[in-house]
C-alpha cells in the first residue's frame, strides 16, 4: 500500500519520505529545517503543532537546536512561518491523500499558512481508499475533517498548472514505521 501511496502522492507533486524509526525521521526533519534556512525572524519560523510524534521529546531542546522552531501555535506565528509541521491521522493509498481530524485550529494553521507543510504519518495508518476511510471517521465526532492531496495548486491563468497559490507550495510527507504505537 505504501508504494501505491508514494506513486500517487508524487504524481501530484508531494514529496514522500519513509523512515523506520522516529529518531531517523526526527534527524531528517531537523536537517531539513536547517537546509531551508529556518531562523528566528518573521517569515523564517518553523511551527510544529502538538502531536503524538512529539510525545516524550524535549521540545525546548529541539527549539534550541534550530532557532526559529516553535511549538506554540498562534495565527500570527503561523502567518510568519515558512514551514508548518503536523501529524496526519490517515492516508489514502489510491489517491495519495493524507487525512486529518483538523478540529483543532492549530492543526489547520500550520498546514494552510506556511509555504511548506511537513506532514507526519504512521505507516500503519495507511488505508486503501475513501470507502475505507469512511469506516474510520465519524463526522459527528470530528467537526473539521481535512483531506490533502498534494500542494496547493491552480490552473486559473491560461490553464497553466501552477503550484502554491493560497496554501503550501510544497507538501513533504514523512512516513514513520515505528510511529504506530504513538499515533
Amino acid at each position: 500500500m505504501f508504494e501505491t501511496f508514494k506513486v500517487k502522492a508524487e504524481a501530484v507533486s508531494a514529496e514522500v519520505h519513509r523512515f523506520a524509526t522516529r529518531a531517523e525521521a526526527l534527524a531528517f526533519i531537523m536537517d531539513f529545517l536547517e537546509q531551508e534556512g529556518v531562523a528566528d525572524t518573521p517569515q523564517s519560523y518553523a511551527l510544529w503543532a502538538q502531536c503524538p510524534f512529539l510525545k516524550g521529546l524535549d521540545q525546548r531542546q529541539l527549539a534550541k537546536a534550530v532557532p526559529g522552531l516553535k511549538f506554540e501555535v498562534t495565527r500570527e506565528l503561523a502567518a510568519d512561518s515558512k514551514i508548518g509541521i503536523s501529524q496526519m491521522d490517515w492516508a489514502l493509498a489510491n489517491t495519495g491523500t493524507i487525512v486529518q481530524d483538523s478540529t483543532s485550529v492549530a492543526q489547520r494553521l500550520v498546514s494552510t499558512l506556511p509555504l511548506i507543510h511537513l506532514a507526519l504519518l504512521a505507516t500503519d495508518r495507511m488505508l486503501a481508499d475513501l470507502p475505507a476511510l469512511l469506516t474510520k471517521v465519524n463526522p459527528r465526532e470530528s467537526a473539521y475533517l481535512a483531506m490533502i492531496t498534494g500542494p496547493s495548486r491552480t490552473a486559473d491563468i491560461e490553464r497553466v498548472l501552477t503550484i502554491g497559490v493560497h496554501g503550501p507550495e510544497r507538501l513533504i510527507i514523512v512516513v514513520v514505521d515505528e510511529l504506530g504505537g504513538l499515533s
Binding site: V12, M147, I157, V160, V165, G167
Partner: protein, 712 residues
C-alpha cells in the same frame, strides 16, 4: 424563437476572438485525454448510475432531507437558515454582517452566491468583498462575470491578467504566470487575515450528519473557513444527499470530471463550528437556498437536472461552448446545463436565445456524471417556449409545407428546376441576396434532377419473400439519390427485396428539434402508417437522424404530447428499425454478402455522425466493413465530434456551424487520407460542401456508396 441581432453580434464577437477560441479549443482537446486517464480503472457507467440514483432520490425528498440536515447541523451548534427567496439570503447575510461589525468579507468560490448577485449587494452596503479563488479574483478585478463554472477566467490571457494585477498593486508586472500567482497569494493573504467573515459554497451537504463538504484546489477554501470568526456557507438545496456514504461516488466523479484529478488538493468536511484562533467558537451559518429547486424537483422532466454535481464537463466537451465561451450564454450558469438552470433559476424566457446554441450532438450526455440527458432537456425548453410563445411565422410556414407531403415534394421538384442558374457539378456555390449567407462557408448540394423515389421505380426487385422497407429521408431522396441506390444494390445482392412506399415523408426531426412537437407528431403518424403497411421484416435508413427518429423519437414525441394514438404502432416500428451499416455487417457475417477479393485500396478516415455514435452506439461496424473491402483506416483527431451540420442548425447559426466545420475539415486533412467516409447524408452535405468551397480534393462518401462499389 428568433435570434436577435444583439445575440448574433455576441456570437460573432466570441467566435472571432482568437484568445477565447484558442484557450477553450486547447483546453477541450487536452481535457478529453486527461479525463479519460483520470477515469482509468473506473466503471464510469456504474459510478454515474449510482450518483444519479443518490441525487434523484435526494431531489424527491428535499423537504425531509433539509429538515434532517437542519436538525443535525444545529445539534452540532451551526445555525441553519432555510429560504426559498434569493433576496432573503442576501438580507440574512447583511444583517449578520452588520450585527457583528463586519467590514471585510473573503469568499471562496460559490456558484450559489453568483446566482444571488451577492457581491454588489454587500458592497453597496459598504462591506468589502474579496473573491479569493484566483480565477474569481481576476474576474472581480476585471468587473466581469465567470465564463465557466470551474474555470471562471478561462477566457482571459496572461497579458490581460498581468494588466489587471499591475493596476491593483501599482507595479508593472510581466506575464510570468507563476509570478502572477505569487502576486495573488501575497495580495490576498492580508485580506484573509483581516476578514471578519468568510463566505463559501458547498459541494455536498449531508443530511444524516449535518456536514458540508468543500472541494477546492488552491487552499482558499481552507483559509476562508478557518481564519474569520464567522463562516457563512450558501448551499443550494440540490447539494443535499441523504447519507454520509453518499459522498464517496460524488467525490470519485467530481474531481475527475471537473479537472481530471483523482482528488482535488483539498477536501474539507465540516460538521458544526470549530474553535477559532482566539479560543472562542466560530459562528457557522448554513443557508439552504431553494430558489425554484423545489419546483424543479416537482417537474417530471426537469427534476433530472438536479442530479448535476457542477463539474462543468458538459461545457468542456461541447463543440459550441469551445467556440463561443461562457459569456454568450449569459450571467451565471453557462453551457448546456447552464441553459437549463438559467431557464429555471431565472426564467424560461431568459433561455430563449441561448437554448438555440445547442446543436444536439449529444457529447455532453455521454460524459455527464449525473447522467442528465442535457440535449433532451434543452429540447424540452424549446418545446415549452414554442407552447408559450408559438413558432416564429417563417418556421411555422415552413413546417406547414413539410407536413403537406405532396406540396413539399412538388416544391422540391420545382426548386430542382429553379436552381439551374446556380448549380454546377451537383453543387450550389453562391446564392443571391438574403440567401447568400447559406453558401458563405460551404457549397450546398444541388437538388437532384431525378429524386430517389423516381429512380427506385426503375430498379427491378427480387421476389425472395424477404423484405426490407427503405426509409430514404429528405436528403437522400432529393439531394443524394445515389446513396439510396447503393443501399438498394447491396440489399438486392444479398437477395433481399427492397420496398419504398411513396407516402413516406420527412422524419420530423427538424420540427422536433425546433420544439414543434405537434408537427413532428403528424409526420410520425404518416410515416408509421406508410412503413408498417409494407409488412417488411426490417425498416432501414442510411441517415442516422432518420434512424433515430424512427427508432426512438416517434415514441418520445407521442409521449411528450401525451398522445396515445399511434403509440403501439410506433413501438412496433421501433423494433424493426436498423441502421444501414449494422444490417450490412450482419449480412456479411451471415455469409450472405461478399466483397471483391481484398486488394490494397486507398487510405480513408472515418467521421462518426452524432446520432449514429451516441444514440445508436454504432461506430465499429462501418469501420470494419470498409477495412474488409480493402481500405486502410487512419483515424482522425476527434472523429466523433460534430461536423457542425446539426440539421437546420447550420442554417440558423452559420456563425457557429462554419468554424465547427472548419475544425472538422482540418482534422480530416491532417490524416493525409484522400477519402473520408461517414454514414450520414447530413454530415456528407456539410463536409462535401466545405471541401468544395475551399477547393480541396478530398473525396467524401457515404459508407454504403463505397461498399456498393466493392460488391462481388
Amino acid at each position: 424563437m428568433a435570434i436577435s441581432k444583439a445575440f448574433r453580434e455576441r456570437i460573432e464577437k466570441a467566435v472571432h476572438s482568437p484568445t477565447l477560441t484558442g484557450a477553450l479549443g486547447r483546453f477541450s482537446e487536452a481535457y478529453r485525454i486527461s479525463r479519460a486517464q483520470a477515469y482509468e480503472g473506473i466503471d464510469f457507467e456504474a459510478l454515474r448510475s449510482r450518483i444519479a440514483e443518490i441525487k434523484a432520490s435526494a431531489a424527491s425528498q428535499f423537504e425531509v432531507l433539509a429538515e434532517r440536515f437542519t436538525e443535525q447541523a444545529e445539534s452540532k451548534g451551526a445555525k441553519v437558515f432555510r429560504t426559498s427567496s434569493p433576496e432573503a439570503v442576501k438580507e440574512y447575510i447583511l444583517k449578520l454582517a452588520r450585527e457583528n461589525g463586519v467590514r471585510s468579507v473573503v469568499k471562496s468560490k460559490s456558484m450559489a452566491s453568483e446566482e444571488l448577485h451577492l457581491n454588489p449587494y454587500l458592497e453597496r452596503a459598504g462591506i468589502a468583498v474579496r473573491e479569493t479563488d484566483l480565477g474569481e479574483w481576476i474576474i472581480q478585478l476585471a468587473g466581469q462575470r465567470p465564463s465557466h463554472m470551474v474555470l471562471p477566467a478561462i477566457h482571459m490571457t496572461k497579458e490581460e491578467v498581468a494588466d489587471l494585477f499591475s493596476k491593483e498593486i501599482h507595479e508593472r508586472l510581466s506575464t510570468n504566470i507563476p509570478r502572477l500567482v505569487k502576486v495573488a497569494r501575497h495580495e490576498l493573504r492580508g485580506k484573509f487575515l483581516e476578514a471578519e467573515m468568510g463566505i463559501s459554497g458547498a459541494n455536498i451537504a449531508v443530511a444524516e450528519t449535518g456536514s458540508i463538504v468543500l472541494v477546492t484546489n488552491e487552499g482558499n477554501g481552507r483559509l476562508v473557513t478557518t481564519l474569520p470568526k464567522i463562516h457563512v456557507a450558501i448551499v443550494g438545496l440540490e447539494k443535499l444527499v441523504a447519507s454520509f456514504a453518499d459522498i464517496v461516488p460524488i467525490l470519485t466523479a467530481l474531481p475527475r470530471s471537473a479537472t481530471a484529478q483523482l482528488l482535488t488538493s483539498y477536501v474539507s468536511i465540516i460538521t458544526g463550528p470549530t474553535p477559532t484562533t482566539d479560543g472562542t467558537m466560530k459562528e457557522l451559518h448554513i443557508i439552504l437556498m431553494d430558489n425554484r429547486r423545489t419546483a424543479m424537483a416537482q417537474d417530471p422532466k426537469f427534476k433530472q437536472a438536479l442530479q448535476c454535481i457542477r463539474c462543468a464537463s458538459c461545457l468542456n466537451v461541447c463543440p459550441v461552448f469551445r467556440l463561443v465561451g461562457g459569456h454568450v450564454f449569459g450571467q451565471v450558469y453557462t453551457g448546456g446545463i447552464g441553459t437549463i438552470l438559467t431557464a429555471w433559476f431565472e426564467e424560461l424566457k431568459k433561455s430563449e436565445e441561448i437554448q438555440g446554441l445547442c446543436i444536439q450532438c449529444g457529447n455532453c450526455k455521454g460524459v455527464c456524471p449525473g447522467k442528465i440527458d442535457i440535449p433532451e432537456l434543452i429540447l424540452e425548453i424549446r418545446r415549452r417556449l414554442v407552447k408559450e410563445q408559438g413558432q416564429p411565422l417563417l418556421e411555422k410556414a415552413m413546417y406547414a409545407v413539410v407536413n403537406n407531403r405532396r406540396l413539399f415534394h412538388s416544391l422540391l421538384r420545382t426548386a430542382s428546376a429553379a436552381q439551374a442558374p446556380f448549380a454546377r457539378e451537383g453543387f450550389i456555390r453562391h446564392l443571391p441576396m438574403f440567401l447568400s449567407k447559406l453558401t458563405d462557408f460551404r457549397s450546398l448540394p444541388a437538388i437532384a434532377a431525378t429524386p430517389f423515389r423516381d429512380r427506385m421505380k426503375d430498379i427491378a426487385q427480387p421476389k425472395t419473400g424477404e423484405k426490407v422497407v427503405f426509409f430514404a429521408g429528405c436528403l437522400i431522396d432529393f439531394a443524394y439519390p445515389t446513396m439510396g441506390e447503393a443501399v438498394v444494390k447491396i440489399l438486392n445482392q444479398a437477395g433481399i427485396e427492397v420496398v419504398f412506399p411513396e407516402t413516406q415523408t420527412c422524419c420530423g426531426a427538424p420540427a422536433r428539434y425546433s420544439g414543434a412537437y405537434e408537427v413532428a407528431g403528424q409526420s410520425a403518424l404518416a410515416n408509421i402508417h406508410a412503413l408498417l403497411e409494407t409488412k417488411a421484416d426490417y425498416v432501414i435508413s442510411a441517415c442516422p437522424t432518420c434512424t433515430v427518429a424512427l427508432k426512438y423519437e416517434f415514441i418520445n414525441t407521442f409521449e411528450g404530447l401525451g398522445q396515445t394514438q399511434g403509440l403501439p404502432e410506433a413501438r412496433e416500428l421501433s423494433a424493426k428499425v436498423v441502421d444501414c451499416s449494422s444490417l450490412v455487417k450482419r449480412l456479411v457475417e451471415g455469409g450472405r454478402l461478399a466483397f471483391k477479393a481484398a486488394e490494397q485500396l486507398e487510405t480513408f478516415t472515418y467521421h462518426d455522425s452524432c446520432h449514429l455514435k451516441r444514440t445508436l452506439n454504432v461506430f465499429e461496424e462501418p469501420r470494419e466493413l470498409l477495412k474488409e473491402t480493402g481500405y486502410d483506416l487512419v483515424e482522425m483527431f476527434e472523429a466523433d465530434i460534430c461536423c457542425g451540420m446539426g440539421g437546420s442548425y447550420s442554417l440558423k447559426l452559420p456563425e457557429i456551424s462554419a468554424p465547427i466545420l472548419e475544425r472538422k475539415l482540418k482534422n480530416i486533412k491532417e490524416t493525409g487520407a484522400s477519402l473520408v467516409a461517414m454514414d450520414c447524408p447530413g454530415c456528407a452535405m456539410q463536409i462535401k460542401g466545405g471541401f468544395d468551397k475551399e477547393g480541396s480534393a478530398v473525396t467524401v462518401k457515404h459508407t454504403v456508396e463505397l461498399l456498393a462499389e466493392r460488391l462481388e
